[in-house]
């Protein structure tokens, strides 16, 4: 993990729940991430996904989803304020200190995501490439998670 301070990234996050075959994009497999145009689609559950896109695009993405799913039972919610996001570089070893997931590179590969715990904090982990892990954390746990990551890195 590099020594740069962790800076939150401003991103739009849209939670969508609907039957998988109705999605306007190919649904990612379990614990997986797919692309939809230039957006990331994270698997959260069998009928739930998180669309992550550039800041200020939440209403555009939400409208696209609403239009595509019109007439079907669905839910589209802008949850951009729900989680703070930052990118960890070379941070898997540090994350492993507080996370029960098997984050060894043979099991945890780019293009995977998971909702899990880092110590007591709920997090979503998204492995973007070999080195970069994107971490989504509830705002009230942000300080704790960042402090703990930094402390583990030092010791």
């Amino acid at each position: 993990m590099t020594a740069e301070p962790l800076v939150p990234i401003d991103l739009a996050q849209i939670d969508v729940r609907v039957a998988p075959d109705l999605l306007p994009f190919a649904a990612p497999l379990e614990n997986g991430v797919t692309g939809w145009n230039d957006r990331d689609v994270l698997w959260l559950g069998p009928d739930e996904w998180l669309v992550v896109s550039e800041p200020q695009t939440a209403s555009t993405v939400a409208r696209e989803l609403h239009d595509a799913l019109a007439g079907h039972h669905h839910s589209v919610l802008d949850v951009s304020a729900n989680r703070i996001v930052f990118d960890l570089i070379d941070g898997l070893e540090v994350l492993s200190s507080g996370c029960g997931l098997d984050l060894h590179p043979t099991r945890w590969r780019p293009g995977m995501c998971a909702q899990t715990l880092f110590r007591k904090a709920q997090v979503i982990l998204h492995q973007r490439d070999e080195r970069t892990t994107r971490v989504f954390v509830r705002p009230s746990f942000e300080r704790d998670v960042i402090d703990r990551l930094a402390a583990t890195r030092v010791s």
Partner: protein, 89 residues
């Protein structure tokens, strides 16, 4: 720590889960027709076997889905886990 296999997410630490009691207890078709004793039986009385027990579990810190599990109450070994819409094993 126990490793519990969520039918959706795969194997996870037990701290990600919450226990939900005995599984496969159907809501009475006509609750009004039940006597107080039968209603109390439905609400409160649960099996307490020694050995394999079908239970509900909730993956609260993961996909937030309920699923069923067969757990051996004498060894805490999870014999199987299966989705809500799957047949009991």
């Amino acid at each position: 720590m126990l490793l519990i296999r969520c039918p959706w997410c795969g194997p996870r630490d037990e701290i990600e889960f919450r226990y939900g009691g005995q599984a496969h207890i159907a809501y009475p078709a006509d609750p009004d027709a039940l006597s107080d004793a039968d209603w109390a039986d439905f609400l409160f009385m649960r099996d307490n076997p020694r050995g394999p027990f079908r239970e509900r579990w909730y993956h609260v810190h993961g996909c937030r889905r309920w699923f069923n599990a067969v757990r051996d109450t004498s060894t805490h070994r999870f014999v199987a886990t299966y989705r809500i819409d799957e047949e009991p094993v």
